[in-house]
């Protein structure tokens, strides 16, 4: 049954309703007993909002705007690529980092790289820590052979920083990490 059919049926049924007659009884009754009506028709429903509610909602709106101004830029800065580091150690990793030198993402090529990456948590982690973990894993898997004849220069690493001052600094940091990892592996 459609909405209109229900409405039509209700209307026709309402037209046929037999109502009891109470008019004669009303006319005989004493009206003084029925003076407590207190009812009037208002022209339209207008919800009244108190000043307190208005002030509170205004304060809440201002607070929301301030929060948005704080949160949104920090989130977007965290995701903004500051530098890209490509590490080629028989298998390849492309690491993107933000200005805080936290890892945004690591892209891999090949199943071997994927396998290594499975055991490393890198999202929002410090770049130096992540790189140390990666190189250590590569050494233990045999992709980098640490020995006297192998230095950090044998691992092809490319750094591209979007800001001119950053490339040399990152490169230096990578050199330190690679040296320390190789030394550590050699010692073991």
């Amino acid at each position: 049954m459609k909405n209109n059919e229900i409405k039509r049926l209700l209307r026709s049924e309402a037209d046929n309703v037999q109502i009891p007659d109470v008019l004669t009884e009303i006319k005989k009754a004493d009206l003084t007993e029925y003076k407590d009506i207190g009812t009037e028709i208002v022209s339209a429903h207008t919800p009244k909002i108190s000043l307190r509610v208005k002030l509170l909602s205004g304060a809440a709106a201002v607070l929301l705007v301030i929060l948005a101004l704080i949160i949104v830029p920090s989130v977007s800065f965290d995701k903004k690529v500051y530098a890209e580091v490509a590490l080629g150690a028989y298998t390849e990793f492309e690491i993107t980092i933000n200005k805080k030198e936290q890892v945004i993402d690591i892209k891999t090529s090949g199943d071997n790289a994927k396998k290594i990456l499975e055991n490393i948590s890198y999202q929002k982690q410090p770049f130096d820590k992540t790189l140390t973990n990666l190189i250590t894993a590569c050494i233990s898997e045999g992709y980098i052979i640490s020995g006297e004849h192998i230095t950090n220069r044998d691992i092809p690493i490319a750094v591209y920083c979007r800001y001119a001052d950053g490339t040399a600094r990152i490169r230096e940091c990578i050199d330190e990490i690679v040296n320390s990892c190789c030394d550590k592996a050699q010692g073991e």
Binding site: L9, L10, R11, E33, I37
Partner: protein, 169 residues
């Protein structure tokens, strides 16, 4: 209304003829009981006649009487909820046995039974009595949007009930 205001009680005849059906259906819809609806109807016209001075000329007299009827019906509805009936007989009496609807149509009757008092009230005002949503909002004292939403929900419930009944048959 003007004549009634001037003290001519016979002027109530015209108002009664114009509004009694609507008042009865509205009261019946809320209370689901013919006797109680009759009492509310009597109460409504007595209060309207006694308080005719409160009626603002130029406003809708039908809506004014509907508000009085609605208040009287809800007063009765709330009183009925407060009264606890104790039955000391061994037989279990169905508490819904006195509940009926203003229509004899079985399909409509069943469908109306599925609604709440407020939904039945709005359905009776809109579909049965032909009030507009704006007028119902004035009578009920709620925003038009709420009235439309309640009406749509009520019709949806009724439609679902009729379809289920049809499917069972």
């Amino acid at each position: 209304m003007r004549e009634l205001r001037e003290g001519n009680i016979d002027a109530l005849d015209g108002i009664y003829e114009l509004t009694s059906k609507g008042v009865y259906i509205l009261a019946y819809s809320i209370l689901k009981n013919a006797e109680k609806a009759k009492d509310v109807m009597q109460d409504t016209f007595l209060r309207a006649a006694a308080n005719i001075g409160q009626y603002k000329p130029g406003t809708n007299p039908k809506a004014w009487i509907s508000v009085i009827a609605r208040n009287a019906a809800y007063r009765e509805y709330n009183n009925a909820k407060r009264i606890v009936c104790q039955d000391f007989s061994e037989h279990i009496i169905d508490k819904n046995v006195n509940e009926t609807m203003w229509t004899d149509n079985i399909i409509l009757n069943d469908a109306l039974q599925t609604l709440t008092a407020q939904e039945r009230e709005i359905v009776s005002l809109f579909a049965a009595q032909g009030y507009k949503h704006r007028e119902i909002a004035q009578i009920v004292g709620r925003p038009i949007g709420t009235i439309q939403w309640l009406y749509n929900r009520a019709v949806k419930k009724m439609r679902k009930n009729t379809e289920t009944k049809k499917h069972e048959e």
